[in-house]
């Protein structure tokens, strides 16, 4: 399974194996990673699974769809590398992915 590192805003790292076919958000929830809320359950409707994807991983994570870009309006501390983790689908190519969490999701 691809290994994903979730870095909390305070620097705490959570290295977990995430099943292919699920999302980066689901991987966090399944592995009790703090800092990703996922209130809407992955519908791209709440902006509480906001993460920063390093530029070198951006392409492999796929382009965000318009809805995701719009919903990011509600996220806090949005940057060019902001994504919603529920919209990043885990593939074998994402083995080694590192995502960082913002200070707040609400």
């Amino acid at each position: 399974m691809p290994r994903v590192t979730y870095v909390e805003a305070n620097g705490t790292e959570h290295v977990v194996d995430v099943q292919v076919g699920t999302s980066v958000m689901q991987g966090a929830l399944n592995n009790l990673v703090p800092g990703i809320e996922g209130d809407c359950g992955g519908l791209c409707a709440c902006a509480t699974c906001h993460v920063y994807v390093p530029p070198e991983w951006a392409k492999r994570c796929g382009e965000p769809e318009e809805l995701e870009v719009n919903i990011l309006d509600f996220a806090f501390d949005v940057k060019p590398q902001s994504r919603l983790a529920c919209q990043i689908h885990v593939t074998p190519e994402l083995d080694g992915l590192v995502v960082r969490m913002p200070v707040r999701q609400y």
Binding site: C40, A47, D77
Partner: protein
């Protein structure tokens, strides 16, 4: 105030229990009802004609354009975003409020947004508190040294912690939704539901480790694992959930077996030694003695726990004063040993049958650091080696 927002309409809007705003397409507030003034703590005159961004504010790093979202929501009144997105409001006092907002658009006689706002600050905080408590408890369960497996009323697995993964060799995602049977040896599967049902229907909310015997689990590789188990039940909406805490007792059993074996070997050597051996504490109390010592003292004496000098070493000695003198001498010798001296001497004993024995007797202090913590007393019967006078 337009013609629309006058007369009976205003009376109705003002009487609505939900905080309501009427906003023009340019984002200026045209009207707010009494519930809205109460929610925000503003006078109506403070806000009418002001931009809506005075009360619905974008947060740090938020690129939210509220009026643009009003337009979007008004077009999609059933959009899921309306269910999950909340906006941040600012009351007159400066307090931040989390607001669940719904929007409708009026096209005629003029374009206006009808906005209702519900204060969900407390609800959201409570929800977050519950989530955080859940996260903390879940992380404790995840790292605990016992395997934890939850099953539902049909005995399908609903939780499988990290230790359970390690113990049984299955990943949690492989076990979730699977029957608990998979973790039991075939021979226990048929009878297991009966045990669970009896626990479900019984009065006890939990059964703890130690209250029941060992059980056997089955790993992915087919190994049978001796386990201790605690089980508890929680009824949610009338349906039971069972949580089982499992402890692998293989290491403990192996350690216990090794300890017993070692003890057995030690006893074999100790009790088959030719020499009489006794272990004393620093006060001279007998902690252990071997069969050779018992033979020397004659059968039937319970010597453990007594002072070494008070043992029946001189069964035929009738003179009480003489016996007391010998006991005092032996006591003094032991005290020298407690002070650190190693002692070796020759002693003569006459046993209960009248036979005389010459004993090569020694006392050796056992130290932990500088402290004498025990004394080993040894006596070898050398009668046969001593030339008869």
């Amino acid at each position: 105030m337009t013609e629309l927002l006058s007369g009976p309409v205003l009376v109705l809007l003002d009487a609505l229990p939900e905080a309501t705003l009427i906003v023009a397409p340019d984002g200026r507030i045209r009207y707010l009802n009494r519930a809205a003034t109460e929610l925000l703590g503003h006078e109506r005159s403070d806000l009418e004609g002001e931009p809506v961004s005075r009360i619905i504010v974008a947060q740090s790093g938020q690129r939210l354009d509220v009026v643009a979202w009003f337009a979007r929501w008004a077009q999609e009144p059933h959009s899921p975003q309306l269910r999950f997105l909340t906006l941040t409001g600012r009351a007159h006092s400066g307090a931040q409020l989390r607001l669940s907002v719904r929007v409708a658009k009026l096209e005629r006689p003029e374009q206006l947004y009808l906005v209702t706002m519900r204060d969900v600050t407390a609800e959201q905080r409570e929800h977050q508190d519950v989530k955080h408590a859940f996260l903390v408890i879940s992380r404790i369960l995840a790292i605990t040294d016992d395997a934890i497996v939850n099953v539902d009323k049909d005995q399908k697995v609903t939780f499988f912690n990290r230790k359970a993964e390690e113990l049984f060799g299955y990943r949690a995602d492989e076990m979730l939704g699977q029957p608990l049977d998979r973790l039991l040896p075939q021979r226990y599967r048929a009878g297991h539901p009966r045990h669970v049902e009896s626990f479900r229907d019984g009065k006890a909310p939990s059964r703890l480790m130690g209250e029941r015997g060992e059980i056997i689990g089955l790993s992915r590789t087919g190994d049978e694992i001796p386990l201790e188990a605690s089980i508890t039940k929680v009824f949610i909406d009338g349906e039971p959930t069972f949580s089982v805490q499992l402890r692998d007792i293989r290491a403990r059993k192996a350690a216990e077996h090794a300890r017993l074996e070692s003890e057995q070997r030690f006893r074999t050597v100790f009790d088959h030694a030719m020499e009489a051996i006794a272990l004393l504490d620093p006060s001279g109390t007998v902690l252990e003695l071997n069969d050779a010592t018992r033979a020397l003292l004659g059968d039937g004496h319970d010597c453990v726990g007594r002072k070494f000098w008070a043992l029946p070493w001189w069964p035929r000695l009738a003179d009480v004063n003489e016996r007391e003198a010998r006991q005092l001498a032996m006591h003094a010798t032991i005290e020298r040993c407690v002070a650190g001296e190693q002692i070796r001497t020759r002693a003569e004993l006459v046993d209960a049958s009248g036979a005389a024995h010459v004993i090569d007797f020694s006392l050796r202090p056992v130290r932990t650091g500088n402290e004498v913590v025990a004394i080993v007393a040894e006596g070898r019967d050398i009668t046969a080696l001593v030339p008869t006078p």
